[in-house]
Amino acid sequence: MTARARLAQLAGDRRVIVGAALVWFLVYAFPGYIGWDTEAHLLQSRAGIYTDAHPPLLPFLWRICEVFIHGPLLMMLIQALTLLVGLDRLFRGLLPPRHAAIATALVFVFPPVAGVTAIVIKDAMMAGFVVLGVALLRERKLAWALAWLVLAGAARWNALAVTLPVLVALWPHGATRLRRWAQAAGVWLAITAAAFGINAALVDVPAHMWYWTHAYMDIAGTVRWLDVDDRGARELLDGVPLAHDDYHRSLADRIRTSYDPADYRQLATGDDPIFDKPDDDDQRSAIAGAWKRVVLGHPAAYLHYRWDNFKNLLRIDKQHEFAHVYVWFTVIAVPQSKDRLIHDASASRVQGVMQECAVWLSNTPVYWPWIYFLIACGGFVAWRREAVIAGLLASGLLYECAWFVLNPTGDFRYSQWLVLVTAIAVAWRIGRGRGYMRSSDSDGDGA
C-alpha cells in the first residue's frame, strides 16, 4: 500500500477523525482555562466547604479529581470527553459512520463550542453530561441516560430547561403520545428533584446569593425604567440595606446612573455601591419584599430592563468587546489567583496562535447567539420529524429563553447550549444528505 493510500485510509478511519478532533482541542485548551467561577469551585473543593453560590456538585467532583491530579486538567477532560463521546454516539445513531465522525469532530472543535468547553465551568460540564445522556437515551439505555441527566441537572441549576424537552422528545415508554409525554414529565420531575437533592445534600454553607445578585439587579433594573422620585424609590426599597446614603443625590438618580443591563456587581461592590450585602434574615426578607413590590408591581418596566439584558446576551446591537471567549490559565487580571490556586501554566506557541484566533473570532458573527436562535427556530420547524434533533433544538431554545429572566452578565457561555444543539442539528442535516434516512430513524415520531 502506498503512503498516499495509507493516508487516505487513515483519513477515513472514524477513530482517527474523532481522535484528531480531540488532539486539536487539547492543544487549544491544555491544561484547562480558569475563570472566576472556576476559581471559586477549586477553592471550595480544596477547603472542603461547599456553598450554594455555585452548584456544589462541581467542587465535589473536583475534590475527587484532585485525589488523582491537582489542577484543572481532569475536570477539563471530563467535560470534553463526555461531550465528545456523547456526540460520537449520537451521530453514529443518525448518520453513516464516516459522516458521523466528521460531524462529531466539527461540532466538537467548532470555536463557540470548544471555546466554552476549554474553561472548567458548569455550563460546559452540563453540556457534556446532557449530550451523553441524550445519546444514551436514544440508545434506550435508560438507567445510564437518566444518571447522566441527573448529573447535568446538578451541574447547573437551570439545566431543568434543557432536560424537559429532550425527555419529552425521546422518552420511549407509553402507549399513546399523551401517556409518553406524561411519563416523560414525571421522569423529568424525578431527575430534577434528584439533582437538586444531591446539591442540597452537598451544601455546607448557604450563600444566599440571589438576594445580592439577581434580586438587586432586578430591583435596580426595574427602578431604572420607573418614573419615580427619591421618596418613591425609598418607599419601594423600604428595609433594603443601603451602602451609604448620599443626601446630595436622590436614590432614584443613583440607581439610574449605575444602570447596566448586563451586570449587577456595581450595585453591591466597587467604588460607589448602592446596596449592602444582607447580613441577616430580616434584611433578606426586606429584599425579597422589595423585589416583589418593584418587579411584580411594575411588569412593563421589568420587561423593558430584561429585554435590554436579553439583547445583550443575544448580542443584538452589542458593542465590540475585548473578548467573548476565555483563554486564560488563571483568573484574568488577578495575579494573586496563582497563589490562591497554587497553579500556573503557559501557552504553547501553537496554543498562543489559537488563542489569538479564538479572541478575534469571538468578535465576529460566529459568536452572535441571535443567529443560532433563528436557525434553531427554523430548524425546529423544518426537522421536527426527527425526534432527537427536535428535542435538542427545543431544549436549546427553551434554555436560551429562560435566560430572559435569569441572565445576569451576558456571558457567551450561557448561550453555549443553544449554539451546540444548533451545530448538532445543522451537522446532522448536512451529513444526512438528500433523502438519506436510517432505518433506526423511524423510532421517534417527532416532538
Binding site: 488523582f68 491537582h70 500556573d344 503557559s346 506557541r349
Partner: protein, 446 residues
C-alpha cells in the same frame, strides 16, 4: 448470595485482565504512571533546561539535543508534561516491542507496565532528566532496530542518536543495542558494525549538540575534570608546592580554603560545589583559555597521580553503586516555586502522588534501590542467558546496562542514582522478560 472469596475475586480480576487487549493494558499503565507524577518532577537542572527550551538560548550544561526536543514539544504543549509523556511513552512502546519478541502479547504488555511502574525504574522516569529520556530512547531504539521493517530500523537509529545526545557516555552502551540490527552477521563483523553505528550516532549527536549550543559553559570541564583534579589531589594528599602544581593555571578562590579542603580528609563528590556556591575552591572556567587550563590540569592529575586518580574514581564508583551510608536516590519534587515563576509553571501534588511518593521512598530504603544489586543481577543474567537462544534481545539489554555502568567508572560526575538508571531499567526488563517468557512465551513466528 454469598460474598465471593478472595480466590474468586482474584480469578475474576485475572479473567478481566486477560480479556483486555495489549494496547488497552499499555494505555492503562501509561495513564497510571502519568497520574502518579503529572506533570513531571522538576529538579534545578530540569527547570533551567525548560528555561533554555523556552527562550531558545541553549547551553552545553543541559543536553542541547534534549533541549531542542523539548523546544519542539513546546510548540504544541507547554511545560514538562509533554516531555514526561515522551520519555515514558518511548520507554513503554520500546519495552513492549522488545518483550513482545520473547513473551506473549498480553503478558508482554503487563510486564512492560510492571517494569515502568516498578519504583526503582519509575523514580527516575518520573523526573524530566536526560537520563530518563535516554532510557526511553534507547529502549525504543532497540525495539526499532530488531524490527524487520526498514522504517522502524531508521526510527531506531534516530532514537539512538537522541540517546547519545542525552548523555555522550552512553555511546559504548549503544554497541550491544546496535548489534541487534545485525543479527544475521558473524559475531566479530556484527560487533565491528555495531561499534561503527554507535560511533556514527554519537558523532551525529555531538555535532548536533555543538551546532545547537549558543552558550558554552564548559560543562565537561567543571563537572567532570575539576571533580577529578580535586578528588585526585585529595587522594594523593598533595600539599604545598605539589598542590600548587596540581592547580596550576586554575583560578583558585582562596589558597587557605584549598589547603583546608584538600586536607580535610573527607571525600566530596559534589562537582557543582567545587566550582559554584559560597564554599567553592576554584572558579568555573568562563572562556576557552580557562577551559584549556582545566583540561591541562586534568591530564596532569591523571598522568602524574594515576594511582590516586584510580582510587578517587573507584571510590566514586563504589558510592555510585549505593555502597555507603549517604544514599538518597529519590527525587520527587514538582519544582521550586520561585525558579518556576518566570516560566509560568506551577503544580502541586495530588493525594495519589503523595501516596506514591511514600511507597517509592519506602522501597528506596531497601536494597532494590542499590545499583550494586543490579550490577550483580545483570552479570548473573548474562551468565544464565548465554546459552538461551531465544533471549538475544534481553541479553543485549543487560549487556548494554552493564557497559554503561562500567563507563561510569571514568565518566560519573557524582554518585547520583540516576546515572545507574540504565543499568537498573535494563536489568528489570531482562529479568522480568525472561521470567515471564518461561510461563507465557511468544508463539513461534511462521
Amino acid at each position: 448470595m454469598p460474598a465471593p472469596s478472595p480466590t474468586q475475586l482474584a480469578r475474576r480480576a485475572w479473567r478481566w485482565l486477560a480479556a483486555r487487549s495489549p494496547l488497552q493494558l499499555l494505555l492503562a499503565g501509561w495513564v497510571a504512571f502519568a497520574t502518579c507524577c503529572y506533570p513531571g518532577y522538576m529538579s534545578f537542572d530540569s527547570i533551567m533546561q525548560l528555561g533554555e527550551a523556552r527562550h531558545g538560548t541553549f547551553s552545553d550544561a543541559y543536553a542541547p539535543l534534549m533541549t531542542q526536543v523539548w523546544r519542539l514539544l513546546e510548540w504544541l504543549l507547554a511545560g514538562p508534561a509533554p516531555m514526561l509523556a515522551l520519555q515514558s511513552g518511548l520507554f513503554l512502546v520500546g519495552a513492549y516491542g522488545l518483550l513482545r519478541r520473547v513473551v506473549a502479547p498480553r503478558a508482554a504488555a503487563l510486564a512492560t507496565v510492571g517494569v515502568l511502574l516498578a519504583p526503582p525504574v519509575y523514580a527516575v522516569m518520573a523526573v524530566i532528566w536526560p537520563d530518563s529520556l535516554l532510557a526511553g530512547a534507547l529502549v525504543a531504539a532497540a525495539a526499532g532496530l530488531v524490527h524487520p521493517d526498514r522504517r522502524a530500523k531508521i526510527a531506531g537509529v534516530a532514537a539512538l542518536v537522541l540517546a547519545c545526545g542525552c548523555r555522550l557516555a552512553i555511546a559504548p552502551a549503544a554497541i550491544p543495542i546496535a548489534a541487534l540490527a545485525l543479527a544475521g552477521w558473524p559475531r566479530p563483523r556484527a560487533l565491528a558494525g555495531a561499534a561503527a553505528i554507535a560511533i556514527a550516532c554519537a558523532a551525529i549527536a555531538q555535532l548536533a549538540s555543538c551546532v545547537l549550543v549558543d552558550d558554552d559553559t564548559h560543562a565537561t570541564e567543571w563537572r567532570l575534570e575539576l571533580l577529578d583534579v580535586a578528588g585526585t589531589a585529595r587522594r594523593a594528599r598533595l600539599h604545598g608546592a605539589d598542590l600548587d602544581a596540581a592547580f596550576a593555571g586554575l583560578e583558585v578562590v582562596d589558597r587557605a580554603r584549598l589547603d583546608a579542603w584538600i586536607g580535610d580528609g573527607h571525600d566530596v563528590y559534589d562537582a557543582f560545589g567545587i566550582s559554584h556556591g559560597d564554599k567553592r575552591i576554584v572558579y568555573a572556567p568562563i572562556d576557552d583559555a580557562e577551559a584549556s587550563a582545566v583540561d591541562t590540569a586534568w591530564r596532569r592529575a591523571v598522568t602524574a597521580h594515576a594511582g590516586a586518580y584510580a582510587t578517587h574514581r573507584w571510590e566514586l564508583f563504589v558510592r555510585l553503586l549505593g555502597v555507603g551510608d549517604k544514599w538518597d536516590p529519590v527525587f520527587d519534587d514538582l519544582g521550586d516555586r520561585d525558579l518556576l515563576a518566570p516560566l509560568h509553571h506551577r503544580a502541586t501534588p495530588s493525594d495519589l502522588q503523595l501516596a506514591s511518593r511514600t511507597v517509592v521512598r519506602a522501597v528506596a530504603a531497601t536494597p532494590l534501590f542499590k545499583p550494586w544489586l543490579y550490577l550483580a543481577l545483570a552479570i548473573a543474567f548474562l551468565v544464565y542467558a548465554r546459552e538461551r537462544r531465544e533471549l538475544p534481545v534481553l541479553r543485549a539489554l543487560a549487556a548494554s546496562g552493564l557497559v554503561y555502568e562500567i563507563v561510569q567508572l571514568v565518566a560519573a560526575q557524582g554518585p547520583d542514582y540516576r546515572a545507574s538508571h540504565w543499568l537498573v531499567a535494563t536489568t528489570w526488563l531482562a529479568i522480568v522478560g525472561a521470567a515471564v517468557a518461561r510461563r507465557w512465551p511468544a508463539s513461534p513466528r511462521p
